[in-house]
């Protein structure tokens, strides 16, 4: 298409060892609303970050209005070319007023009376998109509700003296209620067809279907399909998101189902569920997977289980440990050595005459280094001297060395290289064979094949559960959306 506003040519992007985008090509015509869908980690947000100049691609490039954009392309240039984005994480400064936030993002509001002009500009757009919004220009953003902040974030992109050419909306309705979401969709439908192009990213497929002229489906950093907006159906989109590029379209499970029904329960639902929502149960030696889109209540369940003394919903038999998803924030003791990071849970075992014995500590951690291959020059080095994957191995060693009956894992392979992942899978297999149980929240569909049972989350509740051998990618996607 010669007159495309955006023409992406074979963009790839990798972060360390993980490939977020591989060879993606895409065009966006002026006035078009392009829907972009796919599972978490499919590369949608990464692609848009590249377009908006937040980081450069590893390979490939793109044309705007037919002109190639080079290495100096950044947020400022993107902005001056009329490309703006509304991202999932709100980018407002909460301590500033509505008008002041306008000034931060649109420096053309300067000189005498800028406050009035900025306020008028944002109010005009807010009134147009979200009538009855209740926002005032001199209100501090922290006093707005989450929904109002989201409305402001969207309106801010339109309320500028400079021309808007492409607006990227990344999950714009996550904080909006049904009514406001409809207002936004109506507005997009009114504005498209002019000079402004839209990219609409959402897990809410009905919204994408309601406004997109064309829908591109992404999976694993590639484009896995494209459909015309008119005539597309949810089922067709879900099909494209899932099994199409998957080698084996059948069940994820590895086929050898284990019968654990005679084993004792480690985690059992207590009493009757009040809301009638599904609940998790875990038997000795069982590996339970938690699936669904990110942020739909999986981590909350893990924390509730870990906080078992205050949990009225479950009977927990025996000690639990937790492998957090954010190891930098919740997992590591960043000032300590590798040895100390491994033995912290079992320090009574490395004491002799009630005093910590260095040689016992070393032998415990040395055993783990040899069995799972922690790549460290010396075990007494600081934990942060290790690569991310090796830090994660240390966390596993710490939890597996403990006598916990069950281990709760919050997406433990996030940002971990393939080799380490294989080691982690092996450890989980071996330990579950020895009777240790796992509750495993993962954002990677492939990892669910290691699970005996899979629970699918949506909007904070379990909406489906299935034996691992029956869990197909399609079935999980269908329950997730």
């Amino acid at each position: 298409m010669a007159d495309a506003f955006v023409e992406v040519q074979g963009i790839s992007k990798s972060f360390g060892s993980s490939q977020a985008l591989s060879d993606v090509s895409l065009t966006i015509a002026p006035g078009e609303c392009l829907g972009l869908v796919g599972h978490n980690g499919a590369g949608k947000s990464t692609l848009m970050n590249v377009l908006c100049g937040i980081f450069p691609p590893t390979a490939g490039g793109f044309l705007l209005d037919g002109r190639p954009q080079g290495g100096e392309y950044d947020v400022r240039i993107a902005n001056s070319l009329g490309i703006r984005a509304v991202f999932q994480e709100l980018s407002l400064c909460l301590n500033l007023t509505v008008a002041e936030n306008m000034r931060v993002f649109h420096p053309e509001f300067r000189g005498w009376g800028w406050r009035k002009r900025a306020g008028d500009a944002i109010m005009t757009v807010l009134d147009e998109i979200f009538p009855g919004h209740g926002v005032r220009p001199n209100q501090r953003v922290e006093s707005l509700t989450l929904g109002q902040r989201q409305e402001l974030e969207i309106a801010k992109a339109f309320a500028s003296g400079k021309e808007l050419r492409l607006l990227v909306l990344d999950e714009p309705t996550s904080a909006l209620d049904y009514h406001n979401s409809l207002q936004l969709l109506n507005y997009i439908n009114r504005r498209k067809g002019g000079r402004i192009s839209f990219v609409y990213i959402s897990h809410m497929l009905d919204e994408v279907l309601a406004c997109a002229d064309r829908i591109v489906v992404m999976k694993d950093g590639r484009i896995s399909g494209e459909v015309k907006g008119a005539g597309a159906t949810r089922d067709h989109l879900i099909e494209l998101m899932g099994s199409k590029t998957s080698a084996a379209p059948g069940a994820l499970g590895n086929g050898n189902a284990r019968d654990l029904s005679d084993r004792p329960l480690v985690i059992a639902p207590k009493g009757k569920s009040e809301s009638g929502a599904g609940r998790v149960s875990l038997r000795e030696g069982e590996v339970v997977g938690l699936a669904g889109l990110a942020g739909h209540g999986q981590t909350d369940l893990l924390i509730d289980l870990f906080d078992w003394r205050r949990n009225p919903d479950y009977d927990i038999g025996g000690p639990l440990t937790f492998i957090p998803g954010d190891r930098q924030r919740d997992g590591n003791f960043p000032l300590w050595s590798i040895v100390n990071n491994i033995t912290i849970l079992v320090y009574p075992r490395v004491r002799r005459y009630r005093i910590i014995d260095l040689s016992l500590e070393r032998s415990v951690s040395g055993r783990w280094r040899d069995s799972i291959g922690i790549l460290a020059a010396s075990l007494t080095d600081n934990i942060l001297s290790l690569s991310g994957g090796n830090q994660q191995k240390v966390l596993f060693a710490r939890c597996l060395e403990s006598d916990a009956r069950a281990i709760l894992m919050d997406d433990p392979t996030r940002g971990v290289d393939v080799g380490t992942k294989e080691i982690i899978y092996r450890l989980i297999r071996e330990e579950s064979g020895r009777g240790r149980s796992f509750v495993w929240y993962t954002t990677e569909m492939d990892e669910l094949k290691h699970c005996d049972r899979v629970y699918v989350f949506r909007n904070g509740a379990i909406v489906a559960d299935m034996p691992g051998v029956e869990a197909t990618e399609e079935a999980i996607l269908r329950s997730s959306f």
Binding site: C93, L94, N95, V104, G147
Partner: protein, 324 residues
């Protein structure tokens, strides 16, 4: 409907919050005036009340400097050392060699700008860098003025002793400083960016602004306010002393917090800070007026400051997200 009610409640909370520094100043001021009514009687004791208030001006200036640092979520722990050093520069250098004195003060400004750049580039907390710098400043001060003394240029002391009609000079100065501080933080693009950096650096950078530039400018201004505090303190006391501004660091931080600022950054009030600084200064005076024995003064002063900060914190409400 629900929304507009919420908005009004937010406005009311903001109103009580801005009253805190005024109330705490009154809490300190009323007992002073009650015990020493001469302080508010016109004309006769004009000179005396001016002196009682005038020593608040250096604290006001140091607090406004601290406020700038705290607006971007940083803190200057070398404030008292800087202010003392400036009195030494005024007393030992400026009186003999004006050019060298000005050069030294400009040097301090450059160092402060570099501190801002360093904090940005090395992602180091300012508390570490400024504690380190506090030793540098004191070392320099002792080198140029080993014992208290010095000869302060007449222009500084003359300026601090102006006598405008009707209103005491310190009040005029404080009002002008509050206005200037408010204009800087709330009316200029720089002030908005500084408060934005204190709240959400990422969004400032994503909107195409340079965070390092903001941090450099903020710290240069912190240095400038510290220098002005030192010049005014030297002018008022006619003394150069490496320890003259003792306690200024913590007093200035307390003044900012009392004035409605937040440790976490992003939230400041220039007028509140000026009120807070006056309250901090007058706490000392109050103890003298109440005839509290010097043995107890330090402890009681600390207790009053803690109490004022507690009351202030009580009125403050963090910006919690509301979903409805």
């Amino acid at each position: 409907m629900v929304r507009s009610l919420d908005a009004r409640r937010g406005g009311l909370a903001r109103y009580t919050e801005s009253l805190v520094p005024v109330v705490s100043l009154l809490v300190v001021l009323i007992p002073i005036v009650w015990r020493q009514p001469v302080l508010i009687s016109p004309s006769r004791y004009y000179a005396m009340q001016t002196m009682a208030l005038a020593l608040a001006i250096p604290i006001v200036l140091a607090s406004l400097g601290q406020m700038l640092a705290m607006s971007i979520g940083e803190i200057d722990f070398s404030m008292e050392n800087l202010v003392s050093l400036v009195t030494c520069v005024m007393g030992a250098v400026m009186s003999r060699n004006v050019a060298l004195g000005i050069l030294l003060l400009l040097g301090i400004l450059v160092v402060y700008a570099l501190i801002g750049a360093f904090i940005h580039l090395k992602k180091l907390p300012s508390i570490i860098i400024t504690i380190g710098m506090s030793f540098v400043w004191t070392g320099l001060a002792i080198t140029i003025q080993p014992t208290p003394g010095g000869n302060i240029p007449a222009i500084a002391s003359d300026f601090m002793r102006l006598k405008p009609p009707w209103v005491p000079y310190p009040i005029v100065l404080a009002a002008l400083l509050a206005l200037a501080g408010h204009f800087l933080m709330f009316k200029t693009g720089f002030g908005i960016l500084a408060r934005g950096v204190g709240d959400n650096v990422k969004s400032i950078q994503q909107s195409g602004h340079s965070a390092i530039r903001v941090r450099i400018m903020v710290f240069a201004l912190v240095g400038l306010f510290g220098i002005m505090a030192g010049v005014s303190l030297a002018g008022l006391t006619n003394a150069a002393d490496p320890l003259l501004a003792k306690n200024y660091t913590l007093l200035s931080v307390a003044a900012v917090i009392l004035g409605g600022g937040a440790f976490a950054g992003g939230k400041v009030s220039a007028a509140g800070t000026v009120f807070g600084a006056f309250a901090m200064h007058l706490v000392v005076h109050l103890l003298v007026v109440l005839k509290i024995s010097t043995d107890w003064q330090a402890g009681v002063k600390g207790f009053i400051i803690l109490f004022a900060l507690y009351i202030g914190g009580f009125f403050k409400r963090a910006g919690k997200i509301r979903y409805i």
